[in-house]
């Protein structure tokens, strides 16, 4: 019986130590990666270009590729 008390005490001590190693949920949530919003969903800041539809990935890619061609002077000079 005396041995059981000793064992119980050890278990409690181990449990306490393990609990001390954990972190509160709010800190754990802050330190975990958050999902990023895809750029083709648009930005609500009033500076968006008008030639694509927010949420439509294809139209976003097309608009960016067209804009990319502004960096190609061979295409611009035609």
């Amino acid at each position: 019986m005396k041995c059981n008390f000793k064992l119980l005490g050890l278990c409690l001590a181990a449990l306490t130590l393990l609990l001390a190693c954990s972190e509160p949920p709010e800190i754990a949530a802050k330190a975990s990666k958050r999902p990023d919003m895809a750029p083709y969903m648009g930005a609500n800041d009033g500076f968006m270009t008008k030639d694509w539809t927010p949420g439509n990935r294809e139209s976003w890619i097309d608009a960016l590729n067209k804009r990319n061609e502004n960096q190609n002077e061979y295409a611009r000079l035609k």
């Binding site: 750029p39 083709y40 969903m41 800041d45 500076f47 890619i61 590729n65 960096q71 190609n72």
Partner: protein
């Protein structure tokens, strides 16, 4: 599928630092941090002096991601390497791992106290809401979500720095190289950092297409 990349054409870069200024202004990068900078080699040697604009190259197999002890990096579907400043502990491992010296730290005080890491975001912000004030304060402008390209490239006066979908920018670059070859000049077909960032050691750079196949090449 868009895979966002940078190319700097060393034959065209004139070391004007317009890209550096544009980046600092657009993202309100604090004093002491340069997300982009222009490096010049062979300074003063006629014919051999080359300048190149360097920042985060958004590597395909990014070493900063591999070494980060708190795993604060992530890669978007568009291939942009971003990080979460709420997780970063400012240890500096990424800075040691990066072959381009992209990660930057703001010295905040004595005894080497450093800030959280700051680097080029390809003008794509961070995990905060697109275009929000929080995102701007932590990461700068999110131009991609506004349908724009990084301002450093869009502002480049000689179009030495090109940014955008890898297929589009390589076609622009190869067109130039082919045109130079056709005109009998040194082609300058080495795209700085391309194989290091996007393929690993030994990977060849973008292959120039034969001049005859490129419409408009003169």
């Amino acid at each position: 599928m868009a895979r966002m990349k940078f190319i700097c054409d060393t034959e065209r870069c004139i070391e004007c630092n317009g890209c550096v200024t544009a980046c600092k202004n657009e993202n309100e990068v604090p004093w002491g941090v340069n997300r982009r900078r222009v490096v010049t080699v062979n300074d003063g040697i006629i014919g051999q002096e080359k300048s190149v604009s360097v920042s985060c190259m958004h590597c395909t197999d990014a070493p900063c991601m591999a070494v980060c002890p708190v795993d604060c990096f992530y890669r978007t579907d568009e291939g942009v390497v971003l990080h979460d400043k709420d997780i970063c502990i400012g240890c500096g491992y990424c800075s040691l791992a990066c072959p381009f010296g992209a990660p930057q730290f703001l010295s905040k005080g004595a005894f080497g106290v450093r800030s959280k890491m700051d680097k080029c975001t390809f003008c794509n912000g961070g995990p905060e809401e697109n275009g929000s004030v929080e995102e701007f304060e932590k990461y700068g402008r999110n131009r991609l979500s506004e349908g724009k390209l990084p301002l450093c490239a869009e502002m480049c006066s000689t179009k030495a720095l090109i940014a955008g979908d890898s297929e589009v920018i390589t076609s622009i670059f190869t067109n130039r190289v082919t045109t130079r070859e056709k005109n009998g000049h040194y082609p300058g077909s080495e795209a700085f950092g391309w194989s290091t960032a996007y393929g690993g050691p030994g990977t060849p750079g973008p292959t120039p297409t034969p001049g005859a196949q490129v419409p408009g090449a003169k």
